[in-house]
Amino acid sequence: MKISDFIILVDTKAKMALKAEASRLYLSFLWWILEPIFFVLAFYFVFNILLKNGHEDYLLFLMCAKIPYMWFSKAVTSASGSIVANRGIISQIDISKAIFPYASIQISLYKEIPVFMLLFVMCIGYGYIPSIEWVWLIPLFFVQYLFIVASGMIAALLVCYADDVRMFINMMMLFLMFVSGIFFDITSIQQPLQDHLLTYNPLAFLCDSFRKILMHKGMYEINHLIGLIIFFSLLIGMLHFLYKLLSRNIASKVVNA
């Protein structure tokens, strides 16, 4: 299959799935906007009203990291079950199995667009006016997408061989939430642990970088970002090779499961 056909097929599948999902709900596509608004309101209620957090920007501080984390978590979790969920198609046609995690990841990406729009509106509401530094968000989104693709492909592949991996993924996501500096500032952690977290946990680096740009007009470690791009690109390349190699083996596992 040509790369262009692969991309078009992934995009078609993702858009059809989104349309199918929207048609099942009375409020249809409006849920894309409503869901993140309710989500932010729930956090506002907990942290600003119930806990009366003294830090006035805490809600924005939280959202700058929680939203990228949720994108990662939702995308990888949904991608993990994507091959198994398409058992019907896989049992009938010899097709690249990578299509399924990619389509899931694409669905999550489209759903995340209004969520990030809401985050930007919140930033403006809190007085953090968009500046030229916001351009540096683009490579950040790109790295996060690569991170999601690599993790999603690994998760989807492993779930084909052992469904137990789903349980592990759920635990992993919870663990990542606590070690990625979402509820606290990663810089408040002692050295050398702080450096280790930022170096070896890409999510901690991404969350911290989103905050740096959106709230402090700052800049992330560009060399680390380039390193991540190279690492994830190589990893994704290897995963595509592995998917090709195991294609029929995956089909056997999924069909006979």
């Binding site: 078009i8 349309k19 049992s91 029929r248």
Partner: protein, 234 residues
């Protein structure tokens, strides 16, 4: 490939399933045990056998969807193969038209080509205004019609057909059978699987009867079908 006209060669194919039944126990099933045969270009062969006899698994192996656990399938390089199935990847909340486009794309067509063959699918499926309605509003016969119309558009070197003629009402069944016979009359190489020997007799020049994972008999369709019928009645 020893003969130039041989388009597919199955060599000693076996398939063993191992499914887990507990923490340390498993169940092993030998679905296919050493199946060998050849298909020549342009030939239509039928595979007969009762339900659960390993026919669908064999078809999946021949179509290149799964690998056998033993033996091998040899095809000349770049031979395209497709398993003709009904309702490939249909999404219930999406219209028949969009599902047909998606299904054609799954079978290897580009989006442009998929859109180009839509009028032919629309005409063949006879769904009228339902073609633009979600598939979950369809009756099972309508779904089958859409599925058959979409599947028939696949252009490949070897076509594998699994029990597809038992769908829809009598009128559509006749139409589907005629369309398939028309396709098979040309140069199309085809492997047709059924538990119904009359269908195999109608479309195939040669038949293979599979029983409990092994070839029980192969050769002239009428003879094999006759023996198969006698066996099934006994």
């Amino acid at each position: 490939m020893s003969q130039s006209s041989v388009i597919l060669k199955a060599e000693n194919i076996s398939l063993t399933y191992k499914s887990r039944t507990g923490f340390s126990s498993s169940f092993t099933h030998h679905a296919l045990k050493g199946i060998s045969f050849e298909i020549t270009m342009g030939e239509t062969i039928g595979i007969l056998g009762k339900n659960g006899g390993g026919k669908s698994s064999l078809l999946r192996i021949l179509a290149g969807i799964i690998n056998p656990t033993g033996g091998q399938v040899i095809c000349p390089p770049n031979t395209t193969r497709a398993l003709l199935t009904l309702g490939l990847g249909f999404m219930p909340n999406i219209s028949g038209r969009e599902n047909a486009i998606y299904s054609a794309m799954l079978q290897g067509a580009s989006r442009k080509k998929a859109k180009a063959i839509i009028p032919a699918i629309e005409e063949f499926a006879e769904l009228g205004e339902f073609f633009d309605q979600p598939v979950d509003t369809y009756s099972s016969g309508m779904k089958a019609r859409l599925g058959f119309a979409t599947a028939m558009m696949a252009e490949v070197d070897i076509l594998f057909i699994d029990e597809v003629l038992s769908v829809g009402d009598a009128h559509f069944r006749q139409k589907a059978e005629a369309a398939m016979l028309n396709k098979l009359k040309g140069d199309q190489t085809c492997v047709f699987v059924s538990h119904n020997s009359d269908q195999v007799n109608k479309v195939c020049s040669r038949a293979i009867w599979i029983e409990s994972g092994v070839i029980k008999e192969q050769g002239n369709t009428a003879t094999v079908a006759h023996h198969y019928n006698l066996f099934m009645q006994s």
